[in-house]
Amino acid sequence: MSKVLMKGNEAIAQAAIAAGCNAFFGYPITPQNELIEYMSKYMPDKGAFVQAESELAAINMVYGAAAAGARAMTSSSSPGLALKQEGISYCAGAELPAVIVSVSRGGPGLGGILPAQGDYNQATRGGGNGDYKVIVLAPNGVQEATEMVRKAFYLADTYRNPVIVLADGVIGQMMEPVEINTEALPLIAKPWASDGNLSRGHRNVVNSLFLNPVELEKHNQDLRAKYDLIEEKEVDYELSHDENAEVMFVAYGTPSRIVKAAIENLKAEGINACLFRPKTLYPFPYEALKKAAQGKKFVLCAELSMGQMIQDVRLSLEGSVPAHFYGRAGGMVFEPKELVNAVKDHLGGR
């Protein structure tokens, strides 16, 4: 198949359908509306599309559909994701596979509608209650967004866990040539699903309520063991290797591309830098980042926030290499020259 020029939001929706998504529930919010619009047009042929009455309703419909064995998905943007947090915790508690696409914008509160990354903590730490983790994938372009949505369904089914694809407004709104993988994503048996099958002889119950503390502790331990496995197996990152690099940038999503432009500009001025780009934000590539940073003068974490991923970067480095931060917020996007200047400042005005 040849490439087509597609908007990120639409490409994500098409990739989700190609990956076998058969239940979509959403509520409109900029800058991810084209995703729901696409789903409303094409999902009815494949399964269920519901424009819910609220974000809360949408995530709980996802819970219900996932409990019944569907490949269920919802999408939203920052304030909408905030509303979904309770449902995400319930999905994690009931071990339900669910894919949540977050096309983030500026905050806090209603904030603005331009691209931002102030939802790193929201995605990786979550706002729901209890000890739970959500796998978080962070694409840096339209093609990768489609691949990560596909991977999200695979990971959700494999680990029976919610997966967030954390994009930003640029990825949602931008058009790029894309080739969507249309190969069927094999179905993983869901013998636990509450799907109305009476031939099993017992009822499947999907629930996150455990009133017996012994059982609930066991449930928490089982979840922890699952998260350990995810942390062992699913870490993903990209390192633009440069042996001579004296500085290492850390960035994810759209800013990682701006960093690449900054690295080119720095090179022209005789300063070598490299980029470490986490592709999974949970599990975070702690060890790989620490290893990649060894021997660098410092690490510069560039985010479209006032500093969120920098905490994980510092946890990775364990003080072995100095870590600095450069961020813009509210829909303001840094330019390559700002990053160049930040590097030069930290190098001592070179």
Partner: protein, 180 residues
């Protein structure tokens, strides 16, 4: 190749986003890396629209053009005023001459003023002014041919509005052929 950083800007409704998409399609069909990023949200509601198209050999680094615009299509005066300070020194600027009157006297790049509205009026279809602009803009990008441009119009707009395709192509050719 030298990175192309093209901005297409004007009033909402002038079709500047479509011009950007046509260029992006051309680049894609030549197996180049390309991104198309529109203005969206409140910026659109003010009546102005613009898109950034970045073309590179292998990979587009930043899809947002902060500075160093190499090609600018300004369909109105605010578009020129907004993006001129972000242009490279050797920028090529195509302007919609009847709506862009003030170009700073110290401007050093190439200026191609063409009255696209007049071309559209001559064809009795105001909607096709942007196709004339697409033609003029494309001519400033030697990597693409006139035939490439026509093909992109058919690919992008042929199905959507068949009755207009012929006029679209005619306007494109007039814009392409027009000497500034």
């Amino acid at each position: 190749m030298k990175t192309i950083k093209c901005v297409s800007a004007g009033f909402g409704g002038q079709g500047v986003l479509t011009v950007g998409q046509l260029i992006a399609i051309l680049a894609m069909d030549k197996d180049l890396a390309v991104s198309w990023m529109p203005s969206y949200g409140p910026e659109m509601r003010g009546g102005t629209a613009n898109c950034h198209v970045v073309i590179d050999a292998k990979e587009v680094s930043s899809p947002l053009i902060a500075e160093g615009i190499t090609h600018l299509l300004a369909m109105n005066q605010p578009a020129l005023d907004k993006f001129l300070p972000r242009c490279a020194e050797d920028v090529v600027i195509v302007t919609n001459a009847s709506l862009v009157k003030n170009v700073p006297s110290d401007f050093k790049g190439s200026l191609i003023p063409i009255d696209f509205n007049q071309i559209a009026q001559d064809l009795n279809e105001l909607k096709v002014a942007n196709m004339a602009a697409f033609g003029a803009l494309l001519r400033t990008m030697p990597m693409f041919s006139r035939e490439d441009g026509i093909e992109a119009i058919i690919k992008k707009l042929g199905k959507k509005n068949e009755s207009l395709t012929e006029l679209n192509i005619k306007a494109f050719e007039m814009g392409y052929a027009k000497e500034a």
